[in-house]
Every structure is written in C-alpha cells, then in structure tokens.
C-alpha cells in the first residue's frame, strides 16, 4: 500500500476512535443491566454465526 494512503488511513482510524469514544463511554456507563437469560440469547446466535463461518471454511477447502 502507498505510504501516504497508509498514513491517511491511520489518521482516519484515529479520528474515528476519537469520534467513537464519547458513545463508547456513554454505553459503558449507562448500559442497562442484563437480566437472566439475556446473555444466553446473545451467545446462541453468535455461536451459530461461528459454526456457520466454520462451515463456509470447510466448503472452500474442499
């Protein structure tokens, strides 16, 4: 990659981190507490996504 594009991308990512920081801070401090079963309702679909990606990897290897 062109060094100037690399530097431009790095500066843009730093800017994005600066822009994202207040939202991240807000959600870290003010996120509602999870109720019983809430995290399970997240982990199951995410585990299915992981399994699906593993399946796609198997497809592409054969």
């Amino acid at each position: 990659m062109n060094i100037w594009l690399q530097i431009g991308m790095a500066v843009t990512i730093v800017l994005m981190l600066v822009f994202m920081y207040p939202a991240a801070k807000h959600w870290l401090n003010n996120s509602p507490k999870a109720n019983k079963g809430d995290w399970k309702a997240v982990f199951i679909p995410l585990a299915l996504v992981v399994a699906f990606v593993a399946f796609l990897i198997l497809l592409v290897r054969h």
């Binding site: 990659m1 062109n2 594009l5 690399q6 431009g8 991308m9 790095a10 843009t12 990512i13 730093v14 800017l15 994005m16 981190l17 822009f19 994202m20 920081y21 939202a23 991240a24 959600w27 870290l28 401090n29 003010n30 996120s31 509602p32 507490k33 999870a34 109720n35 809430d38 309702a41 997240v42 679909p45 995410l46 299915l48 996504v49 992981v50 699906f52 990606v53 796609l56 990897i57 497809l59 592409v60 290897r61």
Partner: protein, 223 residues
C-alpha cells in the same frame, strides 16, 4: 379516568407507529443502498480500478460518515450523503473483489462470502425482530469491542502480520454480528429514531462482515 386511558392508548399506538416507520424506512433505504453499492462495485470491476482505490474510497467514505452525515441526517440531504458513502464503499470494494477473482478458487470464495454475509445478516436481523428482545445491555460491550478492533486494525496497518489479520477478521465478524442485534433492537425499542443513522450502522456491519469473510475464506481457500 377514561380520557387518561385513551391518552395512554393513543400515545403507545403513536409510538408503535413511529417505530414501525423507522424499521420500514431503514430496510427500504438499506436495500436501495446495497443495490447502489453493488452497481458501483460492478462499475469499478468493469473499469478494472487499481487496489489503492479501495483504501482511498474508504478514507473518503469514513470522513463523510464522521463529518457530513451527522449534520445532514435530519434532512433530505442525508439521503444524498448516505448514497455517496455507500456508493464510494461499493466502488472501492470492486477493486478488492477483482483481486479475489484472480485467485484459483476466487469466484467461489466471493460467492460464498456474499451469500454468507446475506445469511448472517438476515438471520440475526430476523432473530432480533421476531424475538423483540432488548439488546441494549450489550451497548458497552459492542462499543468497547469496536474500539479494540479499530486499534487492532491501526496496529496491523503497519505490522502487516497475516495471522493477526485473520484474528481481526474473525473479531470483526463477531462484533458486527453483535452490532446487528444491538442496532435492530434499538430500532424496535425506540433507541434509534433516525432511519439514515440506522441504515448507516447496518450497512457498515454488512460491509465489514463481507470483507472479513472474504479475507477468512481467501486465506483458508488458498493452498
């Protein structure tokens, strides 16, 4: 007493109407931006643009997303901006797709990444819409995860370690999948009332999942 009851019913029906309108407009705009993005990708494939176009388009799109979109999202100008962002990202994507198409199993890899992204997005969005669960408790986790991923991308921009790139791609798929659940639930429960912002968030998650899947399948599919 009857009037108070009527007011409550009227308020909640208005709220439900507004929520449904945000969801409907978001999915309509998302479909339109995805089609436009696909057309721009085809144009860049046809023009055989060099790979640096991807980075350049991404930088301009990210700057538009940070500085212009927040100022225009409440007006009709926001529609033009969201199409400019997604069009640019699609145009850049064409350069990456053309690179993958030259690999031995390239067309299969691109098709699997495209289909896989569609299935992941539709599955997660459908799950969040049908379960109507409030995933706002994930907010801190999602934003912290995104920031960690951005720092990792920044580091690997200079380190260029392939194994680290693979880990970043896997991490992005997980964080963006969580973000789809979070954003969809925000639309359902009134946390997100602007359909242009909602479309931008969902488009970015779809784009990142597609690019990450392309990298993972490209690495594993190459002998």
């Amino acid at each position: 007493m009857n009037t108070a009851f009527e007011k409550t019913v009227s308020r909640s029906s208005q709220q439900a109407f507004a929520t449904n309108k945000v969801i409907k407009n978001t999915y309509l705009l998302l479909s339109a931006t995805l089609v436009f993005s696909g057309l721009m990708a085809m144009l860049s494939l046809y023009l055989a643009v060099p790979l640096w176009t991807y980075t350049a388009s991404l930088i301009v799109a990210m700057l538009l997303g940070m500085f212009v979109l927040p100022r225009t999202a409440e007006s009709s100008a926001g529609l033009g901006v969201i199409f400019a962002i997604t069009g640019l990202m699609g145009f850049g994507l064409g350069a990456v797709i053309s690179l993958y198409l030259q690999l031995p199993n390239g067309p299969q890899t691109v098709a699997l990444a495209l289909g896989g992204t569609g299935i992941i997005f539709l599955g997660l969005s459908g799950y969040a819409l049908s379960s109507r669960r409030d995933f706002s408790f994930m907010g801190g986790f999602i934003f912290a995860g995104m920031m960690v991923m951005m720092v990792a991308v920044l580091a690997n921009l200079f380190l260029q370690i392939p194994a680290f790139q693979l880990a970043i791609a896997a991490g992005f798929i997980l964080v963006m999948s969580g973000f789809i659940l979070f954003q969809t639930s925000q639309m359902i429960h009134g946390g997100e009332t602007n359909y242009i912002h909602a479309t931008y968030g969902l488009y970015l998650s779809i784009f990142n999942i597609f690019i990450s899947l392309l990298q993972i399948l490209g690495i594993f599919g190459d002998d």
